[in-house]
Amino acid sequence: MPKRVLLGLLLACGLTAPALAQEPKTGGVINAVIQPEPPGLMLAQVQNGPTQMVSGNIFEGLLRYSPKLEPLPELAESWSVSEDAKTYTFKLKKGVTWHDGKPFTAADVLFSMEMLKQTHARARTNLAQVDKIETPDDYTVVFTLKQPFGPFLGIFEVGSMPMVPKHLYEGTDWKTNPYNNAPVGTGPFMFKEWQKGSFIRLVKNPNYHEKGKPYIDEIYWQIIPDAAARSVAYETGKVDVLPGGSVENFDVPRLSKLKDTCVTGAGWEFFSPLAWLWLNNRQGPLADKRVRQAIMYAIDRDFAKDVIWNGLGKVATGPSASTIKFYTDDVPKYPYNPAKAKALLKEAGYKGEKIRLLPLAYGETWQRWGEAVKQNLQDVGMNIETIATDVAGGNQKIGDWDYDIAFTYLYQYGDPALGVGRNYISSNIAKGQVFNNVEGYSNPEIDKLFADGATATPDSKRKEIYDKAQKILVEDVPVAWMLELQFPTITRCKVKNLITTGIGVNDGFKDAWLDK
């Protein structure tokens, strides 16, 4: 092979010279920030963000996902799919042990599925596609689906499908099992200590199944509730890693300029957080599509990206983030155009009726964004009243449909069947719950497209279906899509290889090492 071609291939693979030259070094301690303090670490039972960030080191799933969302082996070393796309066979890695030394086998996988069906809402929804699970031997698991389910290979990362030790949970009351507070997994790090309100300490698993890993000896997750104090903790060298969202956005540029500081927006491809405004389609002016479209034209989303989010993220084009499967930008566009917004409002007969706006109580950045949107909407003649509430109060109002416009952001989990359709299909309109179709949008064509999209094969067929769904939704504007969020991870540059997959810091630190 000519040298030029070889070099081109290496560059295409992202293998730059320094990366090739640097061999991972072992040893050292990483101090990272975790916020808020997780309520528990038993990932099969508690699924909030901080829990996964810490427990992603303790537990593992069958698969991981690359930044392009291709499946990678973890506890499963290989997998195959039958021709009818209904049978998935996973071959488990041999020689894997739990932190207490017991072997990890197919029986654990089977038990985990049973537990997750009861304790993990997302897993339950995904496993509803499964007709039966068989374990022909200790290292083979066969899932037979009721019908083809396109994203099935995308539901096995550690947060969505963590493996649970059968020998410690079978026959016990799962909710009060003592191992909930001292979790035992197969992951690269073992739970050691949790001083509530202060820190969580994980130590290296010396028997980890990937030889030579992990490279780090210990991780301290420091619990610092105030955002400014988290910034100072980094600035004064007390912590080395600020995972995405740890500090206020306006502090990111300042911290990024500190000596030996590296910043990356990578590692959110699987979750692909997308921010939008819920628009209550049921009542008042927002029931009119033209008013909803006017809102899209009225809001300066580039301003939000450039000023409020310091240039991080991307203006959303529709219901799918550009990082997930089957995204298309071939949809109607809504550039910032206050004149057009005013014209649409006039055409819809809007007469200054009061519209309630609920900002998101997630800190200063979100408050500022709420103010900017309010100003944008007032500029085109809308009568906006901001309703102040905390997160719990806001969720209640949204769940009770007692709002007109409300900020939110949700994860998309890599595939429209997992994280997009749920917000637009009419079977997900259920009062009292948040994060489903709280806007009350109902369109039989969209219902059918999302139902077909989940089960269609091959992927080209799915793409066709989702392209159509995206076009219809963007035309109808059931919600006002704002930004594909990017939560920058700030680290000391000596921390290498922290983010290697599309799940980022939520996927554990097994590849990370310290260049001392």
């Binding site: 301690v29 101090n31 808020p36 303090e37 309520p39 528990g40 038993m42 508690v46 699924q47 909030n48 963000g49 009861q118 993990h120 809402a121 997302r122 339950r124 929804t125 909710k175 909930n180 507070n181 001083q195 509530k196 309100g197 202060s198 820190f199 300490r201 210990e218 301290y220 420091q222 619990i223 610092i224 509730p225 105030d226 400014a228 104090a229 100072v232 903790a233 600035e235 004064t236 007390k238 509430t389 905390d390 997160v391 719990a392 109060g393 969720n395 209640q396 109002k397 769940g399 949700l410 994860y411 259920a430 009292g432 719950q433 948040v434 994060f435 489903n436």
Partner: protein
């Protein structure tokens, strides 16, 4: 005196019970459902999940039954179970109580000692430059929000001078023991305790100053002077002692609220205490935990009120225990 204490304890228990019942309903009046908060954090909110959580919290039961279960628990010293934190409430509070007591008692001691000292000086030298200086100094710390003083302290003493740690109770990972550990904790304690203490100091300074100036004008002080007592003796034995009654009252009120009163300080300095536990419980609508903290705080207020009444007697022998 014993019957006085016994009566106060009985009354205290009744008040505590009333507080428990009132808080039970007040918390539920706040919008926000713990099951939905937890479902939201899990990134999923299907009906089965929310129903499961409600059953787990006991929120599916009628309100009177929930109240009965809770009051019965409190009566047997069982503060319930925090489902969000997956631990008994008493254990969670017990874990955080020492840190809060250390912080608030230190702050209390600082504020009381400095407040009385500065107040005495200000009264002794009333109308002078020293008086004005003390008053301005005290008012600055009283007028500035605690979080601002805290952040400025961090900026100055941690970021710029690198003298003191900016957060936490101890150096994580240092595994210090004995004296070294005590010194480490003390270093971490200085900034939060001073921040909280300087705020309360201002009120004691003002109160002591005003009270002393008032007492100074009374006849018995003139008599003391006529007897030929030295100024120092008059100030200490006659003026200060009589002027302290309102300060003791104020200290009694403050001390009762110390446990729950350090929310902001604990948050900014990542001090692992009760204040933060309460704040998090409020945001997460962790009913049992929040109620548990309220019960402990209320009990502390009652206990400290009783102690205040007893201290009155020591400070001013004219006061008798009314039964």
């Amino acid at each position: 005196m014993l019957s006085f204490v016994a009566q106060r304890i009985v009354k205290g228990v009744i008040v505590l019970l009333a507080i428990v019942v009132l808080n039970f309903f007040l918390i539920r009046l706040a919008p926000g459902d713990p099951a939905i908060v937890m479902a939201g954090e899990a990134g999923a909110s299907d009906q089965v999940f929310v129903k499961q959580l409600r059953e787990k919290f006991g929120l599916d039961k009628p309100l009177p039954e929930q109240l009965f279960i809770y009051v019965k628990g409190v009566a047997t010293l069982d503060l319930g179970f925090s489902f969000r934190q997956q631990a008994p409430v008493a254990k969670l509070i017990g874990e955080r109580l020492p840190a809060t007591l250390l912080l608030t008692l230190t702050a209390f001691a600082i504020s009381l000692a400095l407040g009385i000292l500065f107040g005495t000086f200000a009264a002794r030298f009333a109308g002078t430059f020293l008086d004005t200086g003390i008053t301005v100094f005290a008012l600055i710390f009283y007028a500035m929000p605690i979080f601002w003083v805290a952040l400025m302290g961090i900026l100055l003493f941690s970021v710029t001078m690198d003298w003191l740690p900016s957060f936490g109770y101890e150096t994580v990972g240092a595994n210090l023991t004995g004296l070294a550990h005590a010194v480490d904790v003390a270093k971490h304690l200085i900034m939060p305790a001073m921040t909280l203490g300087l705020f309360f100091m201002a009120t004691y300074t003002r109160m002591t100053r005003a009270s002393m100036l008032e007492v100074k004008r009374l006849d018995f002080v003139k008599t003391a002077r006529a007897k030929g007592l030295s100024d120092a003796v008059i100030q200490r034995r006659h003026v200060l002692r009589n002027a302290l009654l309102p300060v003791v009252t104020l200290a009694g009120v403050h001390s009762g609220t110390l446990i729950g009163g350090a929310v902001i300080t604990e948050t900014v300095f990542a001090w692992p205490g009760i204040g933060r536990l309460m704040y998090d419980a409020l945001l997460q609508r962790d009913y049992n935990l929040l109620l548990g903290v309220f019960v402990i705080c209320s009990a502390m207020v009652l206990i400290f009120n009783l102690i205040t009444d007893l201290v009155y007697r020591l400070v001013d022998p004219r006061i008798e225990y009314a039964t």
